[in-house]
C-alpha cells in the first residue's frame, strides 16, 4: 500500500473542449498527486475556469478522459457525479455565494445538501461556526453576502468550499480583483487550510506572488501565522506549477524550472515577482 500515499487525485488525459470557435482546452494532460499543491497561471481567457469546471464535471470534455480519485468521471451522469463532487471543494471566481441566503446558510449548504454528507442541523451549525472562525469571519453568521466586502466574500467562499472537509480543493482566482494586502490574507488562509488538513489543492491565479507564497511558506501552528520554508521540504507538501496559454498547457514543473524558463509568455508571470 506504499503507492497509495502518492496516488493521483486528479488526472486529465488529453482533454479537449470547445464551445463555438477555437478550442478552449487543447489536448490538456496533467496529473495532480495526493498532497500536492498545484498552481496554474494563465492570462485572462486562457481557459483556467473552464479547466476547473471540467475537473468538477460541470463541463463535459469533447474528447479525452478526466479521472478524480481514480474514478473516470468523463461519462458519468449528473446523479453519479454528486458523489464525486461531495469530495471536492470549489471556490468560484466571484465567490458564487447564494445571495438569497445568509452567510450561515451559505456555508451550511454543502453540509445539508451533499447526499453523502448528511449532517444534522446541529452538526452543521457547529461546523459552520468552526469553519468561519478558521477564515476569521465568525461574526458574520446572520449577514447576507451583499453586506460583505469583496475580500470577506472570498473568504466565505473558501469556508463553504472546505466545510465538508474535502480531500481536494479547487481555488479559482482567489485573489483576483483584491488589493495586495487582502490578497495575501486570502493566500494565507489557503496555505493554512492546506497545512492543517493536508489536502490536495489546485489554485488558479494571475499573480506570481500567490504561487510563490504557496510554494515557499508554511502555516505555523505555534504563531498562527506563516513562516518561510523552502519548496519541497515541508512534510507531505509539494508545489507544482503549470502555465496555460490559449487552452494549451505550455509549462509543467517546479518553481526552479519555472523561474529558469526563457519563454516570453511563461516568464511574464515570473517577472511580476515583487
Amino acid at each position: 500500500m506504499a503507492e497509495e500515499t502518492r496516488s493521483p487525485v486528479l488526472e486529465f488525459e488529453d482533454v479537449s473542449l470547445s464551445f463555438e470557435g477555437p478550442p478552449v482546452l487543447d489536448h490538456v494532460s496533467f496529473t495532480v498527486n495526493e498532497g500536492e499543491s498545484c498552481v496554474i497561471f494563465g492570462t485572462a481567457g486562457s481557459g483556467k475556469t473552464v479547466l476547473l469546471k471540467t475537473a468538477l464535471g460541470l463541463l463535459k470534455p469533447d474528447s479525452g478522459r478526466v479521472r478524480v480519485f481514480g474514478q473516470d468521471i468523463t461519462d458519468m451522469r449528473e446523479e453519479e457525479l454528486f458523489d464525486v463532487r461531495s469530495r471536492i471543494g470549489m471556490l468560484f471566481q466571484e465567490g458564487a455565494l447564494f445571495d438569497s441566503l445568509t452567510i450561515e446558510e451559505n456555508v451550511a449548504y454543502p453540509l445539508l445538501n451533499q447526499k453523502s454528507i448528511h449532517s444534522t442541523p446541529d452538526e452543521a451549525r457547529r461546523r459552520v461556526e468552526e469553519v468561519l472562525r478558521f477564515v476569521e469571519l465568525e461574526h458574520t453568521l446572520e449577514k447576507f453576502p451583499s453586506e460583505l466586502s469583496g475580500g470577506m466574500r472570498r473568504r466565505v467562499g473558501i469556508a463553504r468550499a472546505i466545510a465538508t472537509r474535502p480531500p481536494l480543493v479547487l481555488y479559482d482566482s482567489p485573489t483576483a480583483g483584491l488589493d495586495p494586502i487582502t490578497a495575501n490574507t486570502i493566500v494565507a488562509v489557503i496555505i493554512k487550510q492546506r497545512d492543517v488538513s493536508n489536502v490536495t489543492s489546485l489554485m488558479v491565479t494571475h499573480r506570481y506572488q500567490d504561487g510563490r507564497l504557496v510554494a515557499d511558506f508554511r502555516f505555523d501552528p505555534a504563531t498562527g501565522g506563516l513562516r518561510p520554508s523552502p519548496n519541497g521540504t515541508g512534510p507531505g507538501t509539494r508545489t507544482r506549477f503549470m502555465v496555460l496559454k490559449e487552452g494549451s498547457l505550455v509549462f509543467r514543473g517546479s518553481q526552479k524550472e519555472l523561474e529558469a524558463s526563457t519563454d516570453p509568455y511563461i516568464s511574464r508571470f515570473v517577472a511580476r515577482r515583487a
Binding site: 469546471k53 460541470l58 454528486f82 463532487r85 445571495d99
Partner: protein
C-alpha cells in the same frame, strides 16, 4: 437553410428536455417544500392585487360594451350571461395568465439569469443539488397550484364588476343579473375555465425558468432573457388558449 432552422429546433428540444426533467422531479426526492411555499407566496399573494384589478375592470368593460350591443335587440337583461361566459371561458384565464407572466415569468428569468451569470447555478451543482429540482420544479408546482386559484378569483371579481355596471348603470336587478350569469355556465365552461390556467401555468413557469437558465453574457444577458421570457410566455398563452378553445368547442358540439 438548414443552419437557419437548427437553432429554433434545438431550442424547442431543450425546452422540452427541461419540461421533462422538471416533471420527473415532481415524483422524485428530495422535495424542497419550503421553496414551493415561498414561490406560492410570491406568485399567488403577490399577484392578487393586480389580478383582482384586471378581473374587475374586464368584467365591467365587458358589461358596458355588451349592454350597448344587446340593447339593439332589446336583450340588456342578458348582460350577466354574456359577461359570465366571456370571463369564465376566456378573459379570466388569459388575462390572469398574462398578468402572472408579466410579473413572474420575468421575475423567474431575471432571478435565475442572475444566478446563472454569477455562477450560482454551477455552485449549486457543485454543492450537491440539481438546479432543476431546487429551482424549476418548485416554481412549476407553485404556479400550477396558484394560477387556477387566481383565475377563480379573477372570474368572480370579473362577474362582480359586470354586476356593478349592470346594477348602477343598466338598472338591472341583482336577481336578473346573477341568475342569468349563473344559468349561462355549463360544465364545459367551468372545465375549460379551470384547465386553461393549469396549462398556462406550465408555460408561465417553464418559459421563465428556461430563459433564466440559458442566460449568458452578464447583466445585459439577464435583461435580454427577462424580455424574451415575457414575450414568449405571452405568445404561448395565446397559442394554447386557441387550441384548447378549439378542443372544447368540438366537445360541446358533437
Amino acid at each position: 437553410m438548414l443552419d437557419f432552422l437548427k437553432r429554433p429546433v434545438l431550442e424547442v428540444q431543450q425546452f422540452y428536455l427541461l419540461f421533462g426533467a422538471a416533471l420527473k422531479n415532481v415524483f422524485r426526492r428530495p422535495h424542497y417544500a419550503d421553496d414551493i411555499f415561498i414561490q406560492m407566496d410570491i406568485i399567488g399573494v403577490g399577484s392578487l392585487p393586480i389580478v383582482i384589478l384586471t378581473g374587475f375592470f374586464t368584467g365591467a368593460v365587458m358589461a358596458l360594451q355588451m349592454a350597448r350591443a344587446l340593447s339593439q335587440y332589446g336583450q340588456v337583461g342578458r348582460t350577466g350571461m354574456v359577461v359570465s361566459i366571456a370571463v369564465v371561458r376566456e378573459l379570466g384565464p388569459v388575462l390572469t395568465a398574462l398578468m402572472v407572466a408579466g410579473r413572474n415569468s420575468s421575475g423567474m428569468a431575471s432571478e435565475l439569469g442572475s444566478m446563472k451569470v454569477t455562477e450560482q447555478i454551477d455552485a449549486m451543482r457543485a454543492l450537491g443539488t440539481d438546479p432543476i429540482q431546487k429551482l424549476v420544479t418548485p416554481r412549476m408546482i407553485a404556479t400550477c397550484t396558484v394560477l387556477p386559484l387566481l383565475t377563480i378569483i379573477a372570474d368572480f371579481v370579473g362577474i362582480f364588476g359586470g354586476f356593478i355596471i349592470a346594477y348602477y348603470l343598466l338598472n338591472l336587478t341583482p336577481t336578473e343579473y346573477w341568475s342569468s350569469a349563473w344559468r349561462a355556465l355549463e360544465w364545459n365552461d367551468v372545465a375549460q375555465g379551470l384547465l386553461k390556467p393549469f396549462v398556462f401555468a406550465f408555460a408561465v413557469s417553464l418559459v421563465g425558468c428556461y430563459y433564466g437558465l440559458r442566460t449568458t453574457g452578464g447583466t445585459q444577458g439577464v435583461g435580454r432573457s427577462t424580455t424574451q421570457a415575457v414575450v414568449v410566455a405571452s405568445v404561448m398563452i395565446f397559442f394554447l388558449t386557441f387550441f384548447l378553445t378549439k378542443i372544447f368547442t368540438k366537445l360541446a358540439t358533437p
